[in-house]
């Protein structure tokens, strides 16, 4: 039987696809902001914080980096209700992505922070800056610049990983793709369209972040 391609019946469902893509971008945007903040805080704790905080941040990073994302997601969505914590699919997805990105961002940022030449911190200390000022004004911006490509890659990985959030019925892009192929049985075409959509989103996000980082986060 010759292969009959019918993309039209997939593309007809463009509002579903668009909605899915919007969800994927939205989840990623929120997880990036929150995960980025967690990453900065934990990286500070791990590289210069008090000992208990250092230990807690370390345990968090190791726990998340050594377990699968889908297990983390299922734990939050199906496990936490045992403790009386019931989250909507969207909130559970955002939480899982945030916690996941936060752990990787911690390690990435820590590498940048620890690469700060000692002399620059001493110069800032000599100029009577506070510890917080030294971290935010002297240490963090060059550290962010150094690790920005790695951080952007990790954000893209988390965005692609968000495809499994469809498993708890978050209506993101892979959920939309599944839905379309279950309606019209055009799995081949549907997943080609889904795949190309992810590819386009990844390229978009990567370029956007590479453009935005130097302009809004660390200068130059």
């Amino acid at each position: 039987m010759p292969l009959q391609l019918d993309f039209a019946s997939v593309l007809d469902q463009w509002p579903l696809l668009l909605r899915g893509a919007a969800w994927t971008i939205g989840l990623t945007a929120v997880a990036t902001l929150l995960g980025g903040v967690i990453g900065v805080l934990c990286a500070w704790a791990r590289s210069g914080g008090p000992r208990p905080l250092r230990w807690i941040a370390g345990a968090y990073v190791e726990l998340i980096r050594n377990t699968p994302f889908i297990v983390q997601l299922f734990f939050i969505f199906f496990g936490l209700p045992e403790l009386g914590i019931r989250l909507s699919p969207a909130v559970a997805s955002i939480l899982a992505m945030t916690v996941n990105l936060g752990a990787y961002a911690t390690e990435i940022l820590r590498a940048g922070i620890e690469a700060t030449p000692r002399g620059q911190i001493e110069a800032a200390e000599s100029l009577a800056l506070t510890r917080a000022q030294i971290f935010t004004r002297v240490v963090l911006p060059p550290a962010l610049r150094k690790v920005w490509p790695a951080l952007v890659s990790q954000i893209v990985i988390v965005m692609l990983g968000s495809a499994v959030c469809g498993q708890i019925s978050t209506e993101e892009l892979s959920y939309a793709t599944n839905l379309i192929q279950s309606r019209n049985f055009r799995a081949f075409e549907a997943y080609i369209v889904g795949t190309l959509s992810y590819l386009a989103l990844a390229i978009l996000v990567r370029n956007l972040l590479h453009w935005a980082g130097p302009r809004f986060l660390f200068g130059r």
Binding site: G119, E122, A123, E125, L127, A128, R137, P142, G219
Partner: protein
């Protein structure tokens, strides 16, 4: 100890621009510092008068950089006391440390400019954050200081576009922007190509002429001889000899200093 601290009034020749009134601006008493079991500073006593220029010389490992870094708390010492401009150095009091550091500028061997900030912003950062100096006033002062070190046109340049000598002059302007009472110079020409040393030393000399209190660890003996009021020779963690440059270089009293000076000519 061969040489104890001397009252400032018996120091070197008093230059016209120098004024020595009131209490010493820096008083170090019985200062001891060790790294683990190794004692690097073994009891330092030193008084420095306002406007005085001190050169600290000695072999590497003699403790001269460590002494300098104790003065603004970059190194923690275990015994003794240190008073700058009437303020006691208290390591465990962050607020008191910042208070003290506002009066103590430091220039480093490796310049240590902030690489992500333009030259102008390097100079303006600390006055903005610490002194809360208003923007326009801060910028005017930064431009004035950069002009003074001969880099008026580099206000918007990034540090990595400058030569070592230019970077070091920016570092001097950055330290001056905090209006310090004392300036510490830690081998500030050691990382420079020989042809760039002069431009930095000329700026330091102009500071000395204007009456800035200067403590410099240096290997530039001819500069020390020309600019310093007193020279300190450090040996094995102690002030081994101290006196006016003419005495230190012309009539060294101890064999260690004689040996050090002759080693320079090899």
């Amino acid at each position: 100890m061969t040489a104890a601290s001397q009252p400032a009034s018996q120091g070197g020749p008093v230059g016209a621009a120098h004024t020595r009134v009131g209490a010493p601006i820096l008083r170090i008493t019985a200062l001891r510092k060790s790294y683990g079991a190794h004692e690097v500073l073994r009891g330092i006593d030193l008084d420095v008068a306002r406007g005085e220029v001190l050169a600290i010389i000695g072999k590497s490992g003699s403790g001269k950089s460590t002494l300098l870094r104790c003065i603004n708390g970059l190194e923690v010492f275990q015994h003794g006391s240190l008073i700058v401009d009437g303020k006691h150095l208290l390591h465990d009091n962050a607020r008191a440390m910042r208070e003290l550091r506002q009066g103590v500028g430091m220039i480093f061997q490796n310049f240590n400019l902030f690489p992500h900030l333009s030259v102008g912003r390097n100079v303006m950062l600390a006055p903005h954050l610490v002194k809360k100096r208003p923007g326009s006033q801060n910028e005017a002062r930064a431009r004035q200081l950069l002009a003074r070190v001969g880099l008026a046109e580099k206000f918007d340049a990034m540090p990595d576009k400058l030569s070592g000598g230019q970077q070091q002059r920016v570092a001097i302007a950055r330290a001056l922007a905090m209006d310090p009472a004392i300036m510490l110079c830690d081998e500030i020409t050691s990382a420079l190509d020989p042809e760039l040393v002069g431009e930095v030393l000329r700026v330091v000399e102009s500071l000395a002429e204007e009456g800035m209190t200067l403590l410099m660890v240096t290997h530039e003996m001819s500069f020390a001889r020309k600019v310093a009021d007193r020279v300190i020779f450090m040996h094995q963690g102690l002030v081994h000899e101290i006196g006016p440059p003419a005495e230190i270089f012309g009539a060294p009293k101890t064999p260690e200093l004689r040996q050090f000076l002759s080693s320079l000519h090899d």
